[in-house]
């Protein structure tokens, strides 16, 4: 055992006055083998081959080449799904964010006194949060049928769970001084929350809504792939038919839209905080 230790541990440093310092073992000793094992295992499991990457990789550029120039005449058909995508995100984000407010109140450490309620709400939301948005969309497509409504619901529920978590963390760290002051004036906890905690957080709340909206625009674009409405439907269709100039236009339109919305949202958020 001592021999193994001697082999693994770095050499002790002896000072001029005879004192000996034992440097600590580097974590690389066990991190590197573990990472190597995981990598080899993953490559085997996913059948990852560099050879395929070199042999077929050029196809990407073939498709890219096919997209240029985009088919601008196709824009007439892109317009409606694009607006639908944006509207799905707007409604889903709004409804999810508004419902997240009371949910965050119920989950926050400092506002909610009942440990039981906190436990139930937090457990419920962490379970729902484990569903990726695509899974939610698949689920709602079965429940509500193919179309934008299923997508909107997926965005709404997804936003609701994420906003709840983000917002109760903000509530937890809010300044409790004003809350104590309003409580001492005879207000109820909800009234004190509303008039002492929320005024501290409105800016951050709006900012979170916009942040989620940005994220949801991108989410909404892929929801069409599972039949949940929006621009993803025609993207899937055109890719399937290998109409690359149309695909090029769809991607261009999406890029411009996402860029515009993110720029707008960032400008507003800068002024909110």
């Amino acid at each position: 055992m001592d021999k193994i230790k001697q082999f693994i541990l770095p050499k002790p440093i002896t000072l001029g006055n005879g004192k000996v310092v034992q440097p600590k073992m580097s974590p690389a000793i066990y991190v590197v083998p573990i990472l190597a094992f995981i990598t080899i295992y993953s490559v085997n499991l996913t059948k990852f081959k560099l050879e395929t990457l070199f042999r077929r990789g050029y196809q990407f550029f073939v498709i890219l080449d096919g997209m240029i120039p985009p088919n601008f005449a196709y824009f007439d058909k892109v317009w409606a799904p694009l607006v639908a995508t944006i509207m799905m995100s707007v409604i889903g984000t709004l409804v999810g964010s508004i419902l997240a407010l009371p949910a965050a109140y119920l989950s926050s450490e400092n506002m909610m006194k009942s440990k039981f309620v906190k436990f139930i709400t937090k457990a419920f939301f962490s379970v729902v949060r484990t569903f990726p948005i695509l899974v939610l969309a698949l689920l709602f497509r079965i429940i509500f049928g193919i179309g934008a409504f299923a997508g909107t619901m997926a965005i709404g529920v997804f936003t609701f769970t994420i906003m709840t978590k983000m917002f109760y963390e903000l509530i937890d760290t809010a300044d409790m001084g004003p809350f104590e002051a309003i409580m001492s004036s005879g207000a109820s906890r909800i009234q004190a929350f509303w008039s002492a905690i929320m005024p501290q957080l409105w800016g951050q709340y709006y900012s979170l809504i916009l942040y989620n909206f940005e994220m949801n625009i991108r989410n909404a674009a892929v929801l069409g792939y599972v039949g949940a409405g929006g621009i993803g439907i025609i993207l899937n269709e055109r890719l399937g038919w290998r109409l690359y100039p149309d695909v090029g236009l769809i991607l261009l339109v999406m890029m411009v839209t996402v860029y515009l919305i993110e720029t707008l949202s960032r400008t507003i958020r800068k002024n909110l905080l």
Binding site: D175, G177, P178, E180, A181, I182, M183, S184, S185, G186, A187, S188, I190, Q191, A192, W194, S195, A196, P199, Q200, G203
Partner: protein, 254 residues
């Protein structure tokens, strides 16, 4: 009238903050409570409006036994007691007037307070309170734009807008400079005299306590060791309250 009868407060961790307080404060008095940090000043103050519950004894406010109050009756009771804090406890991101109006929500139905529907009467009460402490012109300024003294005046105005019978002040000037401290204390005296509101203030600085309060209560280790007019406080008494002589710089110079 506020009456403490053998009031004891033991915290859940076993700390005995109050060890049998007997005290009577008449309506309209200006009382300063002095003592070392941890002597029980804060606990005594907060037991009056039940922000801390007492464990033994009786505490009567205008004949009401406060330990029998809970829920709605406690909230109704608290409306008559305003509170001012060392750190002002304002919402700094919002306007002065909104901070003062927050004192009115306790009197409003929940749905009206959620929608922020303050009546014209509420707005006038709030603005008049600001006028009383001399910062009416700052009504629509954000609270974080104000100096410490101005912020404490806003907190006092919020308290006044609640139209209380009693004001509890927990170290109201401890984080202010001497000049500002005097101005803010003058506002307290003015409100005490003009509106006949009882003021009970925990004071960090002995000389300010003696200058502005009519009556001084000295607390040491959870017990009252002095209770009398401020004119009767001398070095011997201060030594008893603080356990040693106070140096000149502890008696803040002006």
């Amino acid at each position: 009238m506020i009456q403490f009868q053998n009031v004891v407060k033991t915290y859940p961790n076993g700390v005995k903050a109050l060890k049998g307080i007997n005290l009577e404060v008449q309506q309209g008095e200006f009382v300063a409570i002095i003592g070392l940090s941890g002597a029980g000043k804060s606990t005594l103050l907060r037991s009056i409006n039940q922000m801390h519950t007492i464990t033994e004894g009786k505490l009567l406010v205008n004949g009401v036994d406060v330990s029998t109050l809970k829920g709605k009756s406690l909230r109704r009771f608290r409306r008559d007691i305003g509170m001012v804090f060392q750190s002002f406890n304002l919402v700094k991101r919002t306007s002065v007037i909104k901070n003062v109006l927050a004192a009115r929500v306790a009197d409003m139905p929940l749905w009206m307070s959620l929608l922020g529907l303050y009546t014209k009467k509420d707005k006038i009460i709030a603005l008049e309170a600001l006028d009383q402490v001399g910062i009416l012109e700052k009504a629509y300024t954000r609270a974080d734009q104000l100096s410490g003294g101005q912020q404490q005046r806003v907190a006092l105005a919020r308290c006044v807008a609640q139209q209380p019978k009693i004001i509890l002040a927990d170290e109201p000037v401890a984080s202010l400079d001497p000049v500002t401290s005097n101005q803010v204390m003058n506002d307290f005296v003015k409100i005490n005299k003009e509106l006949n509101i009882t003021v009970i203030a925990n004071m960090h600085h002995v000389d300010i306590a003696l200058k502005f309060a009519n009556r001084v209560i000295g607390i040491k280790e959870g017990l009252i060791v002095f209770d009398g007019p401020s004119s009767k406080v001398n070095n011997q008494i201060l030594k008893e309250i603080y356990g040693r002589e106070l140096s000149d710089d502890e008696l803040m110079e002006h």
